[in-house]
C-alpha cells in the first residue's frame, strides 16, 4: 500500500485541565473519504485546527505528502495543497462569487504582490476559477455577491475555492451542516466523485451521510480515538455503540 497522503502521529493538546486531544493517530489515504465522528465537544474541530495549522499541538506531529508540517503556518500548509473548508462559511462576503474563486486561484499561484494588471482580466486565473465553479455547479451564480448566496451555495463556493488550490487533501468541517435534504444529497454526490481525485478528511454530524460516503470512520470521544475502521466495523463496535451511537444505532 502507498504511504498515506496525510498522517497525524500522536498528537496531544490540552487547554488547562481539558485534554482536547489525547495521543491521536489518524491518517488519510489517497482515494478515500475518512470520516471523523464523535459527540459534541469530543475535540473534532480542535483536531482539524491542529492539522490545518491554526493551533499548535503540545506534542506529536503532522505529516503531509511525506513532509513534517507540524511547525508550518496555515498559509504554508495551504500552499502545499492542504485545503480546508470551515464549519462556518469563511468567504470574502463583499466579493462576487467569481472574485472569491479567483482569490483562491491567485493565492495558489502566489504572485500576489503585483500592483498594475487588473486581476479580474487575468485569463489563466479566470479559467481556473471557472473550472472550479463548473465542478460545484455554481457557474450561473458567478456575478452574484457572496452575501446574497444561500447557506448551501456558500458551502459549494467554499469547496470551489478549495478546488482552485488543486489540493492534495481536503479537510472538511461539517460541510452538510444546515444544508437541507436536497442540498445534502447534491453535495454528497459531489464528494463521492471527488474522493477519487482528492482524498477527504470529513467531519460530519449527519450519520446517514457518513455511513453512505465514508470508506473509513474514526470515532473521537473525549479527545481520544476509540475506534477506526470500515462502516460495518464501526456500526458493530460495542464500544462505539455505547459511547456514541447509543440507541440511535439500534433504531
Amino acid at each position: 500500500m502507498t504511504d498515506p497522503v496525510l498522517s497525524v502521529e500522536g498528537i496531544c493538546k490540552a487547554f488547562g485541565a481539558l485534554e482536547a486531544s489525547r495521543n491521536i493517530d489518524i491518517d488519510l489515504r489517497s482515494g478515500e473519504i475518512h470520516a471523523l465522528i464523535g459527540p459534541n465537544g469530543a475535540g473534532k474541530s480542535t483536531l482539524i485546527s491542529q492539522i490545518a495549522g491554526a493551533l499548535q499541538p503540545d506534542s506529536g506531529r503532522v505529516v503531509f505528502g511525506g513532509q513534517d508540517v507540524t511547525a508550518m503556518s496555515t498559509a504554508a500548509r495551504s500552499r502545499l495543497g492542504m485545503a480546508r473548508t470551515f464549519q462556518i462559511s469563511s468567504l470574502a462576503m463583499e466579493y462576487t462569487v467569481l472574485q472569491n474563486v479567483v482569490l483562491g486561484a491567485l493565492g495558489a499561484r502566489g504572485d500576489v504582490f503585483r500592483f498594475f494588471r487588473p486581476v479580474m482580466k487575468d485569463r489563466a486565473l479566470l479559467e481556473r476559477a471557472s473550472l472550479a465553479l463548473q465542478k460545484v455547479g455554481l457557474e450561473e451564480f458567478r456575478a452574484f455577491r457572496t452575501s446574497e448566496l444561500s447557506h448551501g451555495q456558500r458551502r459549494q463556493l467554499e469547496v470551489a475555492v478549495a478546488l482552485t488550490l488543486e489540493p492534495k487533501a481536503f479537510l472538511m468541517d461539517e460541510p452538510m451542516a444546515g444544508l437541507g435534504a436536497e442540498g445534502s444529497q447534491r453535495l454528497m454526490g459531489f464528494l463521492d466523485g471527488l474522493r477519487h481525485q482528492t482524498p477527504i478528511l470529513l467531519i460530519e454530524h449527519d450519520m446517514d451521510a457518513v455511513f453512505a460516503l465514508a470508506d473509513r470512520i474514526s470515532v473521537l470521544v473525549y479527545g481520544e480515538i476509540i475506534a477506526t475502521g470500515s462502516v460495518d466495523d464501526i456500526r458493530n463496535n460495542p464500544l462505539v455503540r455505547s459511547a456514541y451511537l447509543g440507541e440511535e444505532a439500534d433504531a
Binding site: A75, L91, A108, F113, P118
Partner: protein, 327 residues
C-alpha cells in the same frame, strides 16, 4: 457609466477648472486654498490605501506626513544655510530640488512606515489604533525637543524649492505640480485596488482565515500596504511643507492624524476618490464656516457626526448608493 465614475471625473474637473478660474479673476489666495485641498487629498489617498483596502485604522499617519515635511525642511534648511547635512563618512549636502526632496520624502517615510508597521501590525483593532497614535506622538515630542531643526518653532524655508522649468513661487505653477501628483497617486491606487494585491488585501480585511486558507499571509499584505500608505502620505507632507515654506512639529500632532482620517471618512472609506472629496469638503467648510465663526470646528464636528451616523459611505456613499466596484 457608473455614478461613481461620473463623480470621480467631476471632482477632477472641478479641481482643474476652479484654480484656472481663480487665476483669470486674479485670486491667488483661492489657488493656494485649492492647493491645500489637493495636498490633503494626497495624504488622505495614502491613508485610504491602508484604511479602505486593508481595514488598518491607523491613527498615526501624522508621523509620515511629518517625516515627509521634515525631509523637505531639513534638506532645504541645509541648502539655504550652506551647511552639509553630514560630513562623515561621506558628505551629504542639502538641496533645493523638489525632485530630490520628493524621492527622499517617499523613501524615508516609506521606511519609517515599514518599521512602525512591522511592530504595530502585530496588534489589531483598538490596540492598533493606540499603538500607531503612540508612535506618532513619539515623533511629535522628538521634533519639539530637537533644537537643531527649530524645535517647537519649526523651520522656515525662505524660497520654495525648485522644479525644472517652473517658477514654483507662482501659485498656479505649484498647483500644477500638486495636481499632477494627485493624478499619479490616484492612478496608482486605482490600479493597485484592481490588481492581484488589491484583491488579496481587501480579502484579508474581510476575512483573514480565508486569505490563509488560500496560502497567503495577511501580515505581509498589511505591511506592504502600510508601507505604501505611509510613503504616499509622506509625499503629501513634503508638498505641504513646500506650500507653506515652513515645517513645525504640528505636522506630527495627533490633530493632523485626525484630520487625515476625517478626509477619508467624510469622502467615503474604501472609495479611491473618497479622500479627494473629503479633503475638498474639509477645506470648503474650513473656509466658509471659518469665515462665519472662530468656533467652526463645532460645526465640523456636527457634520462629521452626521456623516458617521447617517451616511456611512461618506459623500461617495451618499451620492452613489451602496454600489462598490466589482469589475
Amino acid at each position: 457609466m457608473r455614478r461613481e465614475t461620473c463623480l470621480n471625473i467631476a471632482l477632477l474637473l472641478i479641481l482643474l477648472v476652479f484654480p484656472l478660474w481663480a487665476l483669470s479673476v486674479d485670486e491667488p489666495f483661492l489657488i493656494t486654498l485649492t492647493t491645500r485641498a489637493v495636498i490633503f487629498a494626497i495624504a488622505g489617498v495614502g491613508l485610504n490605501f491602508a484604511l479602505g483596502l486593508g481595514g488598518l485604522v491607523s491613527f498615526g499617519h501624522a508621523a509620515f506626513f511629518g517625516v515627509g515635511g521634515y525631509a523637505m525642511g531639513i534638506l532645504a534648511f541645509h541648502a539655504q544655510s550652506y551647511t552639509p547635512l553630514m560630513e562623515w563618512p561621506f558628505v551629504i549636502e542639502g538641496t533645493k530640488s523638489m525632485l530630490v526632496i520628493w524621492v527622499v520624502a517617499i523613501i524615508v517615510s516609506g521606511v519609517v512606515a515599514l518599521g512602525l508597521g512591522a511592530l504595530s501590525l502585530r496588534t489589531s483593532g483598538v490596540y492598533f489604533i493606540m499603538i500607531t497614535l503612540a508612535f506618532a506622538q513619539m515623533f511629535y515630542y522628538f521634533a519639539i525637543s530637537w533644537p537643531a531643526y527649530g524645535g517647537e518653532d519649526g523651520l522656515s524655508i525662505y524660497v520654495r524649492n525648485g522644479f525644472a522649468g517652473l517658477n514654483t513661487m507662482v501659485p498656479i505653477q505649484f498647483y500644477a505640480i500638486c495636481y499632477a501628483w494627485l493624478l499619479a497617486v490616484l492612478g496608482f491606487v486605482y490600479c493597485a485596488a484592481r490588481a492581484p494585491f488589491g484583491l488579496m488585501l481587501s480579502a484579508a480585511r474581510q476575512n483573514e482565515d480565508r486569505v490563509q486558507a488560500v496560502g497567503q499571509t495577511p501580515y505581509r499584505l498589511y505591511l506592504v500596504a502600510y508601507t505604501i500608505s505611509g510613503a504616499i502620505t509622506g509625499l503629501a507632507g513634503a508638498l505641504f511643507a513646500d506650500l507653506n515654506r515652513f515645517v513645525s512639529p504640528t505636522m506630527f500632532s495627533w490633530q493632523t492624524s485626525g484630520e487625515i482620517m476625517i478626509f477619508v471618512i467624510l469622502g467615503g472609506v474604501g472609495r479611491v476618490f473618497g479622500p479627494v472629496a473629503g479633503a475638498v469638503l474639509f477645506i470648503l467648510l474650513e473656509h466658509v464656516l471659518g469665515g462665519l465663526s472662530a468656533f467652526w470646528h463645532v460645526y465640523l464636528g456636527a457634520i462629521l457626526l452626521g456623516v458617521v451616523l447617517f451616511a456611512r459611505g461618506g459623500v461617495f456613499g451618499l451620492l452613489t448608493g451602496r454600489e462598490v466596484a466589482h469589475d
